[in-house]
């Protein structure tokens, strides 16, 4: 597996934003109820949003449902849009919040206890269960596309608060500050949650690897 020394590039920013004046005219057309403007909005902005939702939710069906929800929420709120932020940023935030609600509502099985998945230590600070080195075969196995579903399922079994932070930070590539802001927690709390979630996921993958080699 390739080790990435740098944090991921956030996916959130659209590749190209229209000029501010063009955008104001476009928003005015939407607020007038211009049908063509709505079609343009859905076709052009929908591409980036659908991509975000696919990453966050991991399946096409949920991503499409959430895209529809996102635009419905946006259409309802358009009259109050005041250009304090760019249209793309505003839509992205609605999409992320819609995806977060979907993530909170879905589980593929019983939720795991995070405390049972973070490492345990003896009184003198040593690992209670000695970690084993993952062989190259195991790492390659995790990299294979069909096994990504295994990781998706592991993420889905995390308690919602941990699931959300992994999706926002590691999959969607948002910063700790953006993640904390979206979840209504401090950046430090987001950082601690992410670390515990990663530890829990490592334990779940480790169990799978140990089973597959035994």
């Amino acid at each position: 597996m390739t080790i990435k020394p740098n944090p991921p590039v956030p996916h959130a920013a659209p590749a190209k934003e229209p000029a501010e004046q063009d955008e104001q005219q476009f928003v005015a057309a939407l607020q007038r109820g211009d049908q063509d403007a709505f079609a343009t909005l859905v076709r052009e902005r929908g591409r980036t949003l659908l991509s975000t939702l696919r990453r966050m939710l991991g399946n096409e069906h949920d991503a499409r449902d959430c895209l529809q929800e996102t635009f419905l929420s946006a259409f309802r709120a358009l009259d109050g849009f005041e250009s304090k932020c760019r249209l793309g940023t505003w839509l992205h935030r609605i999409a992320v919040n819609t995806a977060l609600m979907k993530l909170r509502s879905r589980r593929s099985g019983p939720e795991v206890s995070i405390d049972e998945l973070v490492p345990r230590f003896s009184a003198d600070g040593h690992h209670e269960n000695a970690p084993i080195a993952w062989e190259d075969d195991s790492i390659e196995m995790l990299e294979r596309r069909e096994n990504r579903e295994l990781l998706r399922q592991a993420i889905d079994t995390l308690p919602a608060a941990y699931r959300e932070v992994v999706v926002l930070r590691d999959i969607e590539g948002l910063s700790t500050e953006e993640t904390g802001d979206l979840l209504g927690i401090t950046p430090n709390a987001a950082k601690i949650r992410l670390h515990r979630a990663r530890q829990a996921l490592r334990t779940m993958l480790d169990r799978h690897i140990r089973e597959s080699v035994s």
Binding site: R43, H127, V166
Partner: protein, 80 residues
């Protein structure tokens, strides 16, 4: 440094946000603790695997499917 302390601040170590002396303490611990070497490597693999999920839709069509565009625009009309 103990394995517990190592595990607790592992993400800061990987993010490169530790102070120089803290990082040196981590490196000294890694030099003598094979368990933490294994733990660090598997933790890093887990993070990389999660980040890879963020790139998995690259082969999907970038356009919003026509039927979905129609459904979205139709639902707007329905709610007017």
């Amino acid at each position: 440094m103990t394995c517990r302390e190592f595990a607790e601040f592992l993400d800061s170590y990987l993010a490169g946000t530790l102070l120089s002396e803290e990082r040196q303490a981590f490196d000294r611990h890694l030099a003598v603790c094979s368990h933490c070497v294994a733990y660090l490597a598997s933790y890093r693999c887990t993070v990389d695997a999660c980040r890879d999920l963020g790139t998995e839709d690259e082969q999907l069509p970038p356009e919003v499917p026509d039927e979905l565009v129609r459904a979205i625009l139709g639902s707007r009309t329905d709610h007017e």
